[in-house]
C-alpha cells in the first residue's frame, strides 16, 4: 500500500502526539515531585532526576529477576512483574525519605543555596553509585520487555501493549496521588503545611511525618516516570537522570512552582516543545533541548511565576 502525502503528514503528527503524551507524562510525574517538595519545604530537590534513574535500574534488576525464573505460568509471571515494579517504586520512595532526612532536613533554616547544593551532590552520588556499582553500570542498559509488542493498531499507527500498560500505570498513579491529597487526612495536612509551615507545626501536625510521606510519594512518582522511560525507549544509561530532572524542574517552574496541576501542564509543555522541535524543525533533533531551555528562559523572564502560579507578595 502506498501512502499518500496527506497520510504521511497525519501519521507523523499522530506519532509526535504519542511521543508528546509519553514524554509529557514522564515529565509531569517528575515535575509533581518538584512542586510538592517546593510547596512544602521551599526547597528545590535537584537530585530528583536521580530518583528517576535509580528506579529504572532497580526496576530492571527486579523484573529481570522475575523473568529469569523458569517454570512460572505467564499469568503469575505478569503479576510478579507488577509486584516488582511496585517494590521498585517503594524502594525509590524510601530513598527519597532517606535523602530528605539526611541532606535536606539539616538545612531547613539555612540559606536556600545550601539545599540546592546538597541535593545536587546527592544527585551526583546517586548517579555515580549506579555507574560504579551496578554490574556494567557505565554502559547502556536494556529494560526487560515483558509484553509482546503487538497492540492496538489504527491503520499505520500503533500503540503497543507495553505502552498501553505504562500509560495506564501512569494515569492511575496520577489519579491516586490527586485523590490522596484531596481526600485523605494526611493529604490535607500536606496541603496545610504547604500553605504555612510554621502554623501547621504549631497546630500539632506531625510535620516530619508529613514531609516524609511527601518525599515518599514524590520519589515514587518519579519512579513511575523512570519505568515509562525504560519501557518506552528500552535503552537507558546512568546519566539520564540529570537531564530528566532538569526538564522536570523546568516543567514545574513553567507550570508554576507549588501547583500540582501546573506541574502537569508544565511537564506536557516541555514535552511538546521538545518533541515538535525535534520532529518539525530541520536539524532540530540534536538541539531540541535548546528549544525547551529557550522556552524556560522566556518564562523566567516574562512570567517567572509560571502558568498557574500567582505572584507572591513579599513580606516586609
Amino acid at each position: 500500500m502506498r501512502l499518500s502525502q496527506e497520510d504521511i503528514v497525519l501519521i507523523t503528527l499522530m506519532l509526535q502526539l504519542k511521543n508528546t503524551l509519553m514524554l509529557g507524562l514522564q515529565y509531569s510525574l517528575i515535575s509533581i515531585g518538584f512542586t510538592l517538595f517546593f510547596g512544602m519545604l521551599n526547597v528545590v530537590v535537584f537530585c530528583h532526576g536521580g530518583f528517576y534513574i535509580l528506579a529504572t535500574f532497580i526496576g530492571t534488576a527486579l523484573v529481570s529477576l522475575v523473568l529469569g525464573l523458569s517454570g512460572v505460568s505467564p499469568v503469575l509471571s505478569g503479576m510478579l512483574v507488577f509486584l516488582m515494579l511496585f517494590l521498585a517504586m517503594s524502594l525509590t520512595g524510601l530513598t527519597g525519605v532517606l535523602v530528605e532526612r539526611t541532606t535536606i532536613k539539616p538545612f531547613r533554616s539555612s540559606p536556600p543555596v545550601m539545599p540546592i547544593l546538597s541535593t545536587m551532590a546527592v544527585g551526583i552520588i546517586l548517579e555515580q553509585l549506579l555507574k560504579l556499582f551496578y554490574p556494567e553500570g557505565a554502559n547502556p542498559q536494556v529494560f526487560p520487555q515483558f509484553f509482546s509488542n503487538r497492540g492496538l493498531s489504527f491503520g499505520e499507527f500503533t500503540i503497543s501493549n507495553s505502552e498501553l500498560v505504562i500509560l495506564l500505570v501512569a494515569v492511575v498513579s496520577l489519579t491516586l496521588m490527586f485523590l490522596f491529597i484531596k481526600k485523605t487526612k494526611i493529604g490535607s495536612q500536606v496541603v496545610a503545611i504547604s500553605q504555612d509551615f510554621e502554623a501547621a507545626s504549631m497546630m500539632g501536625i506531625n510535620v516530619d511525618r508529613a514531609v516524609s510521606i511527601t518525599f515518599f510519594i514524590g520519589a515514587a512518582l518519579a519512579a513511575v516516570a523512570g519505568f515509562m522511560n525504560g519501557i518506552y525507549y528500552t535503552v537507558f544509561r546512568y546519566d539520564m537522570g540529570t537531564i530528566a530532572g532538569i526538564k522536570g524542574f523546568s516543567g514545574a517552574v513553567v507550570g508554576g512552582l507549588g501547583s500540582v496541576f501546573g506541574a502537569v501542564i508544565g511537564g506536557f509543555l516541555m514535552a511538546f516543545v521538545e518533541t515538535f522541535a525535534a520532529g518539525y524543525i530541520p536539524g532540530g533533533s540534536a538541539i531540541r533541548d535548546v528549544f525547551s531551555f529557550l522556552v524556560v528562559l522566556l518564562f523566567l523572564i516574562f512570567r517567572p511565576s509560571g502558568i498557574i502560579g500567582q505572584k507572591s507578595i513579599e513580606k516586609v
Binding site: A121, I125, Q128
Partner: protein
C-alpha cells in the same frame, strides 16, 4: 591579642603545608600519599580545635599580609623545580592555576553576591573556543585571541545576567543551568566549532614572535616546556587575584555583599540591583574566559567535554570547599580539588563520587568552607579598633 606571635605560626603553617603537598605529589607510593593526607587533615583539625593557636595564625595572616604574600610567591615560583623530572606534575599544577582563575571569578557570583551560578564551565568553554577559533581558523596571535576570549566570555556573562535580574535563588540557578546546556548543545552541534571532534592543534602562545614554550636542555638538566607555561599562567593568576582583591576591598564588593544579605534592604538604600548583579556576572565571566583561553593554549585541544555541566558544578564545589567570599580559601579549594584526585589516578572512576561526597560533607559539617570569609577591615583614622 599578641601581635608578635602571629607571624611565625602563619609562616610555619604555609611552609609545612607546602612541603607536605610537595611530598604528596612527589612520592610514588599511595600509602605515603594517603598518610600525608591523613596528617594534613589531622593537623588542620588539631589547629581548628586549639582556639588560641588558630587565632594566632589568623592574626598572623591578617597582620603580615605582605611578607606572607612574598613567601607564597617564592614558594610558587620554586614549585616546578622539584618536579623537573616529572613533567606531568607540573602539568597538573598548571591546570590547577588555570582553574584558580575561573573559580576566583565564580566566587564573585557565588560567594560575594550569593548567585549560585552553575554555568561557569560554559563561560570557560566559550573563552576556550573563542581563543581556539581565532588562532586555528583565523591564524591570529594569542595576544589578540586572549583578550577577545576574555571579552566574549564577559559579554555572554552579561547577556546571561539579563534574565537573572528578575529571578532569585532557584529560578536564578535554573537560568544558569539552562544557559550551560544551551551553550553546550549549540557548540556541540555547530559545524564551525568542530562539533563533537572539537578543535585540535591550538598553538602555544609566542612572546614577541619567539616560541618560548619549548623543552630546554641546560647541560644535563632538562627543563620541560610546561615549566614555562606554569610561570606564564602564574603571572596571569597573580594579575587576576590582584584585581579580585582590589574589587573585594571596594564599594562594588560591598554592593555584592549587600544583595547577598538582603535585597529589600538594599533597594531601600538606593543600591542599583541590576547594575550590581550584572557587574558580578560580567566580571566573573571575564575570569572564566581568561581561564578558558589559557587552558586551550596549554592543552592544545578543546571539545565540549571541557565545558560540560559537570565542569561548572566542579567549580562551584571549589568555591564551597575553599570558603565563599574568601579569595585565599577559593584558591586553596581549587588547588586541593584538582591536585589531590590526580594523585589517586588509579581511582579515576571514583572522582565524581569523591566530589559529591566532599561537597555534602562540607555543607553539613563546615558550610563556611575551609577558610571562612573575613570581616572587611579599613584603615581607620580614629583608632577605634577594639574589635577582634
Amino acid at each position: 591579642m599578641n601581635k608578635k606571635n602571629g607571624f611565625l605560626p602563619a609562616l610555619i603553617t604555609i611552609v609545612v603545608s607546602y612541603v607536605l603537598l610537595m611530598l604528596f605529589m612527589g612520592v610514588d607510593n599511595l600509602i605515603i600519599s594517603g598518610a600525608i593526607i591523613v596528617f594534613l587533615v589531622g593537623g588542620g583539625f588539631f589547629i581548628y580545635r586549639k582556639k588560641s593557636l588558630l587565632d594566632c595564625i589568623v592574626a598572623g595572616f591578617r597582620d603580615y599580609k605582605g611578607s606572607l604574600l612574598i613567601t607564597a610567591v617564592v614558594l610558587s615560583v620554586l614549585l616546578p623545580l622539584f618536579f623537573l623530572k616529572n613533567h606531568y606534575i607540573i602539568h597538573i599544577f598548571t591546570l590547577a592555576l588555570i582553574y584558580v582563575i575561573a573559580s576566583v571569578g565564580l566566587n564573585i557570583q557565588v560567594g560575594s553576591a550569593n548567585m549560585t551560578n552553575f554555568s561557569q564551565g560554559a563561560f570557560f568553554g566559550i573563552g576556550a573556543y573563542t581563543s581556539a577559533l581565532m588562532t586555528v581558523k583565523l591564524g591570529l596571535s594569542f595576544w589578540i585571541a586572549f583578550p577577545s576570549a576574555v571579552l566574549v566570555a564577559g559579554i555572554f556573562g552579561f547577556l546571561m545576567g539579563l534574565p537573572t535580574l528578575k529571578t532569585r535563588e532557584f529560578h536564578l540557578s535554573l537560568v544558569t543551568i539552562a544557559f550551560a546546556y544551551v551553550a553546550y548543545l549549540l557548540i556541540l552541534n555547530m559545524r564551525w566549532t568542530g562539533g563533537a571532534d572539537g578543535i585540535a592543534g591550538v598553538p602555544k602562545p609566542t612572546i614577541f614572535g619567539l616560541s618560548i614554550f619549548k623543552t630546554v636542555r641546560l647541560g644535563g638538566l632538562r627543563i620541560p616546556w610546561t615549566t614555562f607555561y606554569y610561570y606564564f599562567t602564574l603571572l596571569f593568576v597573580g594579575i587576576g587575584i590582584y584585581f579580585a582583591w582590589k574589587l573585594h576591598n571596594s564599594w562594588i564588593a560591598l554592593g555584592w555583599n549587600a544583595i547577598r544579605e538582603d535585597e529589600i534592604s538594599s533597594k531601600c538604600y538606593g543600591l542599583d540591583l541590576n547594575k550590581i548583579k550584572l557587574s558580578a556576572f560580567f566580571i566573573g565571566s571575564l575570569y572564566a574566559g581568561a581561564a578558558g583561553s589559557l587552558y586551550v593554549h596549554f592543552v592544545g585541544f578543546i571539545s565540549t567535554e571541557s565545558m560540560a555541566f559537570s565542569v561548572g558544578l566542579l567549580m562551584v564545589c571549589m568555591v564551597i570547599l575553599g570558603g565563599m567570599d574568601n579569595i585565599l580559601g577559593v584558591i586553596l579549594g581549587t588547588v586541593l580539588l584538582i591536585v589531590i584526585p590526580e594523585k589517586f589516578r588509579a581511582f579515576q572512576d571514583f572522582r565524581l563520587l569523591f566530589y559529591g561526597i566532599i561537597l555534602i560533607l562540607m555543607l553539613i559539617f563546615r558550610p563556611q568552607g575551609l577558610i571562612p570569609k573575613k570581616v572587611r577591615r579599613y584603615s581607620l583614622s580614629t583608632g577605634g579598633d577594639h574589635g577582634k
